[in-house]
Assembly symmetry: C2
Homo-oligomer: 306 residues x 2
């Protein structure tokens, strides 16, 4: 038992850092370390895993380096559409939002859905109305603007096909997430995303879908995914890891690695995930060139990209 | 092996029929028999399971007795918002739509998403734009109007809480669905719903969520669920049945019954599901007073309510 513990991710993909952008690399590591330190501190202070993953994802949403919240990419219409989900592994309660625009912290709305509504998921214009009705903080377009994201979008706008989020020189899947186990051994997961650059038609990825991009269950583990969402939906990836543990008798590491390196890899599904079980075991597999990630417990702490 | 085979449902719940509405009961059975006969005929003619479940669900969407398509209930704003999903168990491709308004056959749009886009799920205003862009048939408000649904909504509108779809004298969960195995042993599932009477804030239930309300995999089975959606989402019910078979070694009947009668029942999750495996075994468990349902293969055919 090595609890409490936390792990976070800031997206997966082919991430290339060399001499000319080594400063950017340090910024990413610094941002990850900041979120990790804050998240772990909350756990040490006795906050629940659900509180912790929500607040840690908020920190990542507020950082414009990641494709979620402030750093969200542009849709085909030049908007920012955000999805988020949170699940509590003790109660199996969950909350999710899809298609939010203008909301500063989508994960907070997901958490509110979990706590204060009879629903699990709300989406679209009425979900935005809900966020207004509940007085969540909204930001103007300028808050979400970044020249880098704009240039990425500008490059491909008008093309019929949707192109993925890019960062640095290689293709990268945005999305941020956190999984945690608190001092009582309860696990929780949260995920938030700005979707894909130039995405059209109200496409919803795996992030806000319980069982696909986000899942938590004290019996098995808490999981947050990042990658090419459609593969994660078809594979019901987060719940698949959980089921391999619960029904197949696999340990966390074996289940998570199998799903990412065999099941997904076989069908060309690129991405990764972070997972923690109630004993504090952490696993962060990915089948892409890199994944912004980090973990922290009483014994150990690190952040990595490649 | 008893293939091809098809099963359908038209929602679960406490369904009360007595002397004064025995005619309505006959109408339900007639509608179910019509859809079953048409669906089975398609399979005999060699149509794929995916073709078959799509077209069979269309027949149910066009019947105003069921809460999907034409018969969809009213939302809190007096609108009709529809969700649908379809999954092909051979390819594991899937398509889903949420929050469609005015579209005659939501399942057709889901099927188009599966076939003609790189996405699995689209939602909200842009999904409606997509349906218009692809020239799907739209209908006016009068097409979706029914005095019964209107009265149900009128009774509870303005109340803060969302009340469920009602039918006859007892509470009933709407939703229609079909599962089929074709002559080649491929399984598919499709689900379509008008949601819940007076639903607010863009609530999305389990029907359009792959793994929750709809799932298909040749290795295990095809499943379509009906019931209190939030419990089906938290339990990732459709994929849970599949995983109990794939990883837990259960047969279809054992897995489906366990999920409906034990796992869901324990947490108060009301509803049911229909499932078929690639050998043509069919299972249709429910933990409510009744479920509109039917099955047909070369040897057998029946429709039932209680």
């Amino acid at each position: 038992m090595n609890i409490p513990a936390i792990a976070i991710h800031g997206g997966s993909g082919t991430i290339v850092f060399d001499a000319k952008n080594s400063e950017l690399k340090n910024e990413y590591l610094k941002a990850l370390n900041h979120a990790l330190d804050e998240g772990f501190e909350m756990l040490k202070e006795g906050l629940s895993a659900t509180d912790c993953v929500c607040k840690t994802v908020m920190i990542l949403e507020d950082c414009n380096l990641f494709n979620a919240g402030k750093g969200s990419v542009f849709t085909a219409k030049g908007l920012h559409e955000m999805d988020a989900a949170i699940m509590d592994g003790k109660t199996l309660n969950a909350g999710a939002v899809a298609g939010l625009r203008g909301v500063k912290n989508p994960v907070l709305v997901a958490w509110d859905v979990l706590q204060n509504t009879p629903f699990v998921m709300i989406a679209g214009e009425e979900a935005i109305e809900y966020a207004r009705h509940k007085n969540f903080k909204f930001e103007s377009d300028s808050y979400f603007f970044s020249q880098l994201r704009y240039n990425q979008w500008h490059e491909i706008r008008g093309d019929d096909i949707m192109k993925l989020d890019h960062s640095g020189e290689g293709a990268k899947f945005g999305t941020v997430g956190a999984v945690a186990v608190d001092a009582e051994g309860n696990v929780s997961a949260a995920t938030s995303t700005g979707g894909m650059t130039n995405k059209a038609w109200g496409r919803v990825g795996d992030s806000p879908l319980i069982g696909s991009g986000t899942y938590a269950n004290n019996k098995t583990c808490a999981i947050s995914c990042t990658g090419h969402g459609e593969y994660f939906i078809r594979g019901v990836v987060a719940y698949d890891v959980s089921c391999r543990m619960e029904y197949g008798g696999m340990k966390l590491e074996q289940a998570a690695n199998h799903v990412i390196h065999k099941k997904l890899k076989r069908v060309g599904g690129e991405g990764g995930l972070i997972a923690v079980d109630s004993s504090g075991n952490i696993c962060m597999p990915f089948n892409t060139g890199g994944m912004y990630r980090g973990m922290k417990n009483k014994m150990d702490s690190f952040t990595r990209i490649l």
